[in-house]
Amino acid sequence: MEAVRLFVEGVHCQKCLGKLEALPNHVSGLSHVRFDMSAKTLTAQIEGPDLTDLALQEAVEQLGFKAHILEGSDHAARLRVEDDRRDLLRIGVAAVASGNVMLMAISTYAGADAVVVNFMSWLSFCLATPAAVFSAWPLHRAAWADLKRGRPSVDLPISAAVIAGFALSLWSLLKGQTTVYFDSITLLILLVLSSRYLLKRIQRHFLSDSRFRSLFKITAVEALSPNGLWTTMDPRHVKVGAQVRVPVGQAIPFDGTLISDIGEVDASLLTGEVRPQPLRAHDPVFMGMKNLGRELVIKVAQPLQASRVHGILAEVEKTLTQKPRSLQILDQVGAGFVSLVFAGAAAVVIYFIGTAPLTGLERALALVLVSCPCTFAFGVPLILSLAMTKAARFGALVKHQSVFEKLLSIKDVILDKTGTVTTGRYSVLSVTPGSAPDLDFSRRDLLRLKGLVTCSVHPVARAVARYIENQEFDAAPAEVPDRFEEKPTVGLLGEFGADTYLVNAEGVMKNGKTLFRYTLGDSLFPEARQLVEELREQTLPVFLLSGDRGARVSEVAAALDVDPENVFSAQTPEQKNEFLQRHPHSLMIGDGANDSLALASSAVGVAVQGSLASSLRAADVYLLQPDLTLVLKLQKLARAVQRAVRRNLTLAVAYNLMAATLAIMGLITPLWAAVLMPMSTLSQVASGLFVLRGES
């Protein structure tokens, strides 16, 4: 029994859910299939040697969804669940405490008997203690970590406010007074924890980086052993200089050189070019190229870990860990705020030290308590989680909060060609009748052709197959060829009785005569043009970076109306990355493994639908629909977020100035705190809701 997790795209409705969860009915060895709609994660138990995670992925893709295998042990997943549950429990404790404490506080403020008030204050103390210790534990821990690092963040003032409020209340209880702030601090804890839990839950769904399995896992290769026999080996044991056989349709497992005289590969993973690339003996081949033509033999030039693809992936990981993820504005304002409040508190203590040190301490504590930064604590997380939910609803998964901020400071937009502005698939763009119109082209020819092209994995054959499928055509069964052969540089040959058909990049021939010709190409997404147009209106320069050859790239650039000066073709993944490093404030939109490095080093990396797992991992935003204009929507949303955050900060400053003045003058009473704190909270929440609702 082994648990497998897949990230599945395209599950929107209950019907899709039903399809997925019914998988065990037709896949043997599969059980306990559960799909989580919000996390878009499928969890299943697989059993037996026949079923692997790859097979499960294929089964899911056959249902019409795109699936990515998620990394991470069972243990890690369980820890995450435990963590979530503990958070929830902390919130529960805080909720019980604050609810009851507030009820009692109301009667206190309403002027109950002194004996009753005293009794209630002690009860409140009993209730608030678990909230201040157990519930607020993560806050205290984070604050302590801040202190040790010497870099104050938002957690520090919150934790300080809780501790100050608690100390102040306990102090007054011991003195026999009843000026307690338990209602304010329990409510504060409850609100902070809830808003953070919300944000965390939303971010969780959106693909934490470590979850995607990098590129591919090749478990076995066929290598030539010294005794001249082909043996199946673990790729890690294959030595440099060994010969390895690559079957048709599989990825080349090593960097090396070609030994076979001739071959054909799909190098789109590295170059982004979908056109099959012919190879001759001694040509270099790279890991990740897909073998199209016929079985190839290669000579291994680099060990597995030293391959180019591995290098790129390692670089991606490195870049990702260096990318800042928190909201800069919060860090800056937060740090300033903390030092201001503590400086004020210190000043108060010093001012009173000669005359009334205890009063000074009380007022300083009151200052720390009331100036608690609600904006940072939960106003902003709430806005961000609302914005992320909204983005997800229109089809853009935002991985972390800083995206909204960075989106507004971008200076360039860089587009990949293949798979991003174009569909990334070879398809038949136009068809013209052949040179022999007298040749009768019957329905039978079409059925034979349909049968022939499905025998091949070659992009040309696939394109023709899709074209035939899309034609108005009754579902008669395709005819299976008696014999077929893929000849590199010639095409796909098929024999049906006495007739021979040939399919190649130009057209289809029957017995040496052309039945019809077609133009093959990679068609443009209509939204791409709209995106470029709107970006131009914003005076953002648009660049087109492609691994493809010059002519085709210029063609696309012309269709998109991108300035020819901003078009770069034949770019290697490394060159793309260098370009990004020269343009630090850029938005990169891409899909392939050749883009993953650039996506990781861009300010905001957007991976489009159908991207490879490595790009998903590197990107900050993932588009669930093949619609590039979502980027524009996201930009708009980012502006709304910025407005909301700024408004909240202004409100917070006004509120804090008022509260701080009251505290220093010694006018803060529990009632004032109880009124002021929820007021600022409500204004924060209302402001956030208001701004984001207006933006739809």
């Binding site: 409705c13 209950q14 859910l17 039903g18 969860e21 019914a22 559960r34 799909f35 989580d36 709609m37 919000s38 996390a39 669940v81 979530d84 549950r85 929830l88 429990l89 529960g92 404790v93 019980v96 609810g99 009851n100 009692m104 008997d113 004996v115 009753v116 009794f119 209630m120 009860l123 209730l127």
Partner: protein, 55 residues
Amino acid sequence: VSILFFLLPLALLFALGFLAAFAWATRQGQFDDLDTPKYRILMDDPLEHQNRQGD
């Protein structure tokens, strides 16, 4: 007034009872996935679905 000294702790005991129930439900995983069950409830048994279409 003296009744308060009895009623208040009683009310808190109730609250603790509910907290315990909440903790139990959390441990059971009732709150792990809040989005999917609402769809799952609508899922038809495939056989039943066919029968209804036959009507």
